[in-house]
């Protein structure tokens, strides 16, 4: 497979534009379902109505849905023969252009000096993960994850004595309820909750975030986890936190739970909270064609 670098860079800018300014259909569907459930005249209903209006306006004008254009997280799949370094450079160049075009806010600061380079450059930013696959195609999955919801994300290690959460799926259930309750409206509820069970402190979080690439309405391939996701969905809204924490009927749209092998000594449960503005889109390049999802 050959790539046309200029064309690919343009398409990557377009992927950033699309992701910053429009939500995937499954997320919009979740919000539309939620607005119907809230009481007429409630702050919760008004908030969701404004959210839907904002989504429409942002799409029409190609302006960011949320000013916090977040950590830019890329998962790239590439065929053999295309150098990873080329793809990384193209993503970085596209990021600079997208910032100039105000699709992204200058959103990275030096951890020590606090200096903002102004173009979203920096150490490990954007976050890019590249894998090789057997297909003769290139795929770029992009997610923008804002700081508000990242700050209420959490990690537990089981057993947790305080919550009486043991090293089993019931223990996992308990810590997830605790995390959503602690988050209140701060992660811009209603949220989508990615969970990683197992691994070490770092890999557990990576898996939790990867789960957020799943569609809101999909079904977990592992029956035990599918059951846990459904149980959480059914029960969590009893917390009454509601949109923005104003109180209301929908606090979480979906739970997406993944797992990975762990050491016998460790049992981590990582929770990645994603706000309602769940911005994720995909660019696929195949046979010289560029398609977006």
């Amino acid at each position: 497979m050959q790539i046309n670098k200029e064309e690919l860079k343009k398409s990557l800018v377009n992927l950033i534009r699309l992701t910053s300014t429009s939500l995937p259909d499954d997320v919009v569907d979740s919000i539309k379902t939620a607005v119907q459930k809230e009481d007429e005249g409630s702050a919760a209903k008004n908030a969701l109505t404004m959210i839907l209006k904002n989504i429409e306006m942002a799409k029409e004008q190609s302006t960011p849905i949320c000013q916090d254009t977040g950590t830019n997280i890329y998962y790239v799949s590439k065929p053999v023969g295309i150098p990873s370094r080329d793809l990384e450079s193209l993503i970085k160049e596209a990021t600079t252009i997208a910032t100039e075009k105000s699709y992204l806010r200058p959103n990275t600061v030096h951890a020590i000096t606090g200096r903002n380079p102004g173009d979203n450059s920096g150490i490990m930013t954007p976050y890019i993960h590249i894998e090789e696959w057997d297909q003769d195609a290139l795929e770029f999955k992009l997610m923008l994850k804002g700081g508000g919801c990242e700050n209420v994300s959490d990690q537990y290690k089981l057993p947790d004595t305080k919550l009486k959460a043991g090293r089993d799926l019931n223990g996992v259930y308990k810590v997830i309820i605790d995390a959503v309750n602690n988050a209140q409206g701060l992660g811009c509820a209603p949220g989508i909750i990615g969970v990683g069970i197992g691994g070490d402190r770092a890999t557990s979080t990576i898996v939790a975030k990867q789960q957020l690439f799943r569609k809101n309405h999909d079904t977990n391939p592992l029956p035990e986890l599918a059951e846990l996701e459904n149980k959480l969905c059914k029960n969590i809204n009893e917390l009454g936190i509601g949109p923005m924490g104003f109180g209301g009927k929908t606090t979480v749209f979906a739970f997406k739970i993944g797992h990975l092998h762990r050491l016998p000594a460790s049992f981590f449960v990582s929770i990645a909270y994603m706000c309602w503005a769940h911005r994720r889109h995909t660019l696929t390049v195949k046979n010289g064609e560029y398609t977006y999802d």
Binding site: I51, N54, A58, T63, P64, D68, P106
Partner: protein, 192 residues
């Protein structure tokens, strides 16, 4: 819907109660993490003029400059609790009448609102394009070079900017009420 025109007065603000939905018009100022730290560290007297009897907006906007004029492109609220160590003092020292943000604030700010006669106003997080449309004009920007775009003080004119009062000047906090109820439910779910 209650309409509030900025600048405002303590008398008007004292009348507001949690749950009130409000449309704000007039001139207000964005300030977030670095700006709050600056106000506390330097206590610059000229900022009394800029912040007095108006609202602070916890927001780091996406802006564009066209024909020499700044324009707000996306401007939703950021999480307010990070300013908890500073806010009560900023409100008192600079005569601020309200703080707009998201997620609510803590006990220190709640006490500060009561003492100084100010309110906490919750905007809907993430509706950045819609709220940017409510910004009709960028009047001034302060400390842009020193703090960068998201952190600078943007003095903006707004029209019908929608918010909900979630902390009032009488000790009321919607956040405390909701948390109290959800804690009970969470304990019930966790303990089966």
């Amino acid at each position: 819907m209650i309409k509030i025109q900025l600048p405002t007065t303590e008398e008007i603000i004292r009348k507001l109660k949690i749950g009130d939905e409000i449309l704000i018009s007039g001139v207000m100022v964005t300030a977030r993490d670095a700006a709050h730290k600056f106000l506390i560290d330097k206590n610059p007297p000229e900022y009394k003029e800029i912040l007095g009897n108006t609202f602070i907006y916890h927001c780091g906007p996406v802006v564009a400059k066209e024909n020499g004029e700044w324009r707000f492109v996306a401007a939703g609220p950021t999480t307010s609790i990070r300013e908890e160590p500073y806010e009560a003092t900023v409100i008192k020292n600079f005569g601020v009448r309200g703080v707009i943000g998201k997620g609510g604030m803590g006990e220190k700010t709640l006490a500060g609102l009561k003492e100084s006669g100010a309110v906490y106003l919750h905007a809907v997080g993430g509706i950045a394009t819609m709220l940017a449309k409510c910004v009709t004009k960028v009047k001034n920007v302060y400390m842009l070079d020193e703090l960068g775009v998201p952190e600078a003080f943007w003095q903006i004119e707004v029209k019908d900017f929608p918010v909900v009062v979630t902390m009032d000047s009488h000790g009321g906090s919607l956040h405390k009420e909701i948390r109290g109820k959800s804690d009970v439910q969470a304990a019930r779910l966790i303990n089966g």
